[in-house]
Amino acid sequence: MSEAASEEPPLDLATPSSPDDGTTAAASQAEFIQLFTKSQRRLYLYILTQVPHPVEAEEVLQEANVIVWSKAAQFQAGTNFFAWACQIAHYEILKYRSRQKRTKLRFSDEFIEQVAVEAVEQADELESRRMALKQCLGKLRDKDRELIESRYAPGERGKDLADQIGRPANSVYQSLGRIRRTLLECIQRQLAVELRS
């Protein structure tokens, strides 16, 4: 029996809620924060596959973060943090969806389930793709890189972008689509090269 447990409610994360017998120890605070911090992007991207709207996904991420944080004591050190957090996120996604029932653009539950499975399956590969993305951005033509960078620059949006550079919105959208496609193909090649080497 850990000593802390008999005191008033524990106030720091390092105190596990169950006795520290080595098998069911909660992660230490330091460990937890580390895992938490490092998984933010992955978790965000996982949510985005199911709530395919950057801001809404962000909202769900925030809600999931609060839950992840509040359940810190339940997390078992040594288990897969990302998988654990994904479960919480998935639950938050369902909650979010049930609140947003009336939205016009909406995927079905089946779709969400399938995509969630796929996203978990691909989790590792996606992480390497994210690494490869960096190099691929460097390989883009200057003009294309500028365009995609301004598209994703904080506070930017496609239509304003079009006004700004004086091109019709449709043609900007087309270019963006083409560049993303180029990036995807580049990433694919990049991974193939890495596999071979």
Binding site: E58, K95, Y173, L176
Partner: protein, 817 residues
């Protein structure tokens, strides 16, 4: 791979630029569902989109510092629960001069009948050894990663510290603060500067508090940035807010790294927050308002409601001169609350942890945790699917789809009156809108079952049996029944063919629930042969009988408004019985002047507060499971006290707990939990659900009548040896590795530990001294009479199998007590 999806590209592009139409969404969805390749592309495309977005928001901040973030988590070894192959290989195979303990295990293994387990051979050996090698590699790798991560983390922490000090110190606050007030900034500029210092501190405290199980105390109005779910945050006691500040300082005097980590977190929080802010200008702000949890004047906190329940019952006990039973032991209560809240027994590890937890309010903390467990929603959905459409559902209804609808509804905290309204007014296809299936299952026989079930399940009334009316009219069903029935006369169903999305070829039959513009009354005959007309009227409200009125929508509205609170009262009554075996009336679905509640004040107390809490199912259950009667011991385990009371139609003062048999679902799921002690994954339970359905089907016989009843072949099935002899217990008691029995024997060489482990797994309590000494006597006796070592081992296995078997067949297992 990329060329196969010409149609997918433009859809994905439109999705990412937020200019996709509803038709395109539908098309995208069907493409993505139709092939694995399309799903891959979808996930990759969205991931690219999101990565560009995320990276741009925090360009160059931590990207380069954390190159291994992904790898670490996925390659971290799973926790060893003492049941891994590696350990077996270590003790039994790699080291021939192993201790007695290991030798014990290895010959046990050899002894297993060859039909069940292949005798160890060279190839088996290599199979066993290989995972160990892989694992060792993995562990080495993760150690390296751990080291490098530790280094990285300290860098991050240092960076965070610098950042924290240099910055305004408010970044964490922005993370936890209400998400939406700043999202609405028209110019999209970060609003960090607008946060006040005090605001940040209190938010920081919330953060810390949220991370803990806290003693419940009178709830204060607390503004929350998150959902309506009862997370710990809402119960922040004001006193502790102050003390937390000092606690933070305390942490500061402790290792410096802790402070640094706090600030690394603050930094990260700022990052997350900054993202929200940076994007707010370029996509319209989401419509969801931030939810504020302010309790209406006159509302009671959870704690106050629980106190009131207890004091009301206490005075009833005093009045009626009954003495409450002692408190249930922790072990018994722990098992009880698992069965009741998540539908299966706890694992041995969970029970151990609970029993050795000496911190205060552990029952309350466990309830809070289980209410948030996905198992809670699964269990509620199971119970209500059975109530709404039965175990064996008519083919018009898609049972699984209803289950999913309910699961999501309970998980998302949908108010009960809204769920009822949705079930009553649902439209669409059975597989797409799960809520349609309640009525699809009951539209036969002129929708008589629909009216019967609505009345019973949602209003706790047997409209068809109102006796005083029967006598007056000589008719089995009173006018009010037909008036309710007439609300369902527009509802129709038709079969539709749908493409099976996963294969893209197969055609399945689904059913569509829709309304016909039927007008006018329903005619029914009374005993003397006269025809009477019944117009749609319910709860004192009459709706227009024209064809243009959607009657089901009107009924849903009236039910959800719940003017006389009967919807709430009936639900409270049923939920009370779900946890305390008996409701305030017996049966629970027959309330009325002829059958008055046993504890009217208590029923009203719960009903009033349930309505006040906006029909919050979790909250109601939180009250009941925290209340005194739920903590009490059952007087007798062997007697089906609850069932016999119901049969006798007698009331009960809840002065002791009433045991009842496990349901079929609880039995099945509990055995799964014993079989694989670390379930919990969504996938695990999704598969378990399918297996359970097919297993259950052999025990259920549907009978299509005006009440769509069904027959369970075994009413107290657990007494039946056929259950325990079946395939189900094979996974527990067979000699092959991986079963409960063989794992326990392998991991515990000592008799007392074995008895303890089996008792913990099966009946969720430690073995008694009596049991241990009984086993010792049996174990000592046998080997002497046996010649060979082989026979001795066989006898050992048999002995323990008998013990486990006895536990499984005891009423201690088969009852929820």
């Amino acid at each position: 791979m990329m060329n196969a999806h010409d149609e997918l590209w433009p859809l994905l592009e439109a999705l990412c630029e937020d200019r996709i139409s509803a038709e395109e969404v539908a098309r995208l969805e069907s493409l993505v569902l139709s092939s694995k390749e399309a799903r891959q592309l979808y996930v990759r495309y969205i991931d690219l989109h999101g990565a560009l977005y995320w990276n741009a928001a925090f360009a160059a901040r931590t990207e380069d510092v954390l190159p291994t973030s992904g790898e670490f988590e996925t390659s971290a070894p799973a926790p060893e629960h003492g049941l891994t192959w590696e350990r077996f290989a270590d003790s039994a195979l790699s080291d021939p001069s192993a201790s007695d303990e290991a030798a014990n295990v290895s010959f046990l293994r050899q002894e297993l009948p060859s039909t069940l387990t292949p005798v160890r051979s060279a190839s088996a050996k290599s199979e066993i050894l290989s995972p160990r090698r892989t694992n060792a590699r993995r562990q080495r790798r993760s150690r390296i990663l751990n080291r490098s991560l530790a280094a990285v983390a300290s860098i991050v922490a240092l960076l965070g510290l610098v950042y924290w000090n240099a910055g305004d110190g408010l970044r964490l606050a922005s993370f936890w603060g209400p998400a939406h007030e700043s999202m609405a900034t028209p110019d999209g500029k970060p609003l960090l500067a607008e946060h006040t210092h005090s605001g940040s501190n209190s938010d920081l405290r919330n953060t810390n508090l949220a991370a803990h199980d806290h003693p419940r105390s009178p709830r204060q109005p607390v503004t929350l940035p998150l959902s309506t779910q009862g997370e710990a945050v809402q119960n922040v006691p004001p006193g502790n807010l102050a003390s937390l500040g000092s606690n933070l300082e305390k942490t500061g005097t402790a290792p410096q790294t802790l402070v640094a980590e706090q600030q690394a977190l603050a930094d990260e929080a700022a990052r997350v927050r900054a993202l929200a802010e940076s994007v707010s200008a370029f996509v319209k702000a989401p419509s969801k308002p931030s939810i504020t949890l302010v309790y209406p004047a006159g509302g009671l906190s959870s704690w106050q409601v629980i106190q009131k329940i207890d004091s009301q019952l206490a005075s009833t006990w005093k009045e009626r001169e009954v003495t409450p039973a002692r408190m249930a032991t922790d072990a018994t209560w722990h098992r009880r609350v698992y069965l009741d809240l998540v539908g299966h027994i706890p694992t041995a590890a969970e029970s151990e942890a609970f029993l050795s937890d000496n911190a205060p309010r552990k029952r309350e903390r466990l309830i809070d945790r289980l209410l948030d467990d996905p198992g809670f929603a699964r269990n509620q959905a199971t119970i209500w699917t059975n109530l709404l459409v039965g175990h064996a559902t008519r083919e018009e209804a898609d049972r699984d789809s209803l289950y999913d609808y309910l699961r999501v509804s309970f998980a998302g905290g949908r108010p009960w009156n809204r769920i009822v309204a949705e079930l009553i007014s649902a439209k669409g296809r059975s597989h797409e809108n799960g809520a349609t299936n309640f009525l699809l299952a009951h539209l036969n026989e002129n929708a008589i079952p629909a009216a019967t079930m609505t009345s019973r399940l949602f209003l706790g009334r047997r409209a068809e049996h109102a006796e005083h009316l029967q006598e007056a009219f000589g008719e089995s069903r009173p006018a009010s029944f037909w008036e309710l029935n007439s609300f369902f006369r527009q509802a129709s169903s038709r079969p539709v063919l749908v493409l099976d999305r996963s294969s893209g070829k197969q055609v399945q039959v689904a059913h569509e629930l829709f309304d016909l513009p039927v007008s006018g009354p329903v005619y029914y005959e009374v005993a003397n042969g006269t025809s009477l007309a019944a117009f749609p009227r319910f709860g004192g409200q009459e709706v227009d009988d024209a064809g243009t009125t959607n009657r089901r929508q009107e009924l849903a509205r009236i039910l959800a408004e719940d003017a006389d609170r009967q919807l709430a009262r009936a639900f409270v009554n049923r939920v009370w019985s779900q946890f305390l075996t008996l409701g305030f009336t017996s049966p629970v679905d027959d309330m009325g002047p002829h059958n008055l509640p046993s504890h009217p004040e208590l029923l009203e107390l719960l009903t009033t507060n349930f309505v006040r809490e906006d029909y919050d199912v979790r909250e109601l259950i939180r009250w009941i499971t925290n209340s005194k009667p739920y903590q009490l011991a059952a007087v007798s385990n062997s007697d089906f006290a609850g069932s016999s009371l119901i049969e006798r139609g007698e009331g009960h003062d809840f002065q002791h707990h009433l045991s009842r048999p496990l349901t079929l679902e609880q039995t099945f799921d509990s055995i799964l939990v014993m079989e694989s002690p670390v379930p919990g994954q969504q996938q695990f339970w999704a598969e378990a659900y399918q297996r359970r359905q097919s297993w259950l089907s052999q025990y259920i016989l549907p009978v299509e009548t005006e009440e769509n009843t069904e027959v369970e072949i075994y009413s107290s099935l657990n007494e039946s040896l056929s259950l325990m002899n079946g395939e189900l217990t094979r996974g527990l008691l067979a000699a092959e590795p991986g079963t409960l029995l063989s794992e326990v024997l392998r991991n515990h060489p000592k008799d007392s530990d074995r008895a303890h482990a089996l008792a913990m797994s099966i009946v969720s309590r430690p073995a008694t001294d009596e049991e241990i000494s009984m086993i010792r006597r049996a174990a000592v006796k046998k080997p002497n009479q046996l010649r060979s070592r082989e026979e001795q081992e066989g006898a050992t296995l048999d002995l323990w199998r008998d013990f486990a078997w006895a536990l499984l067949n005891s009423s201690e297992f088969s009852l929820n007590h």
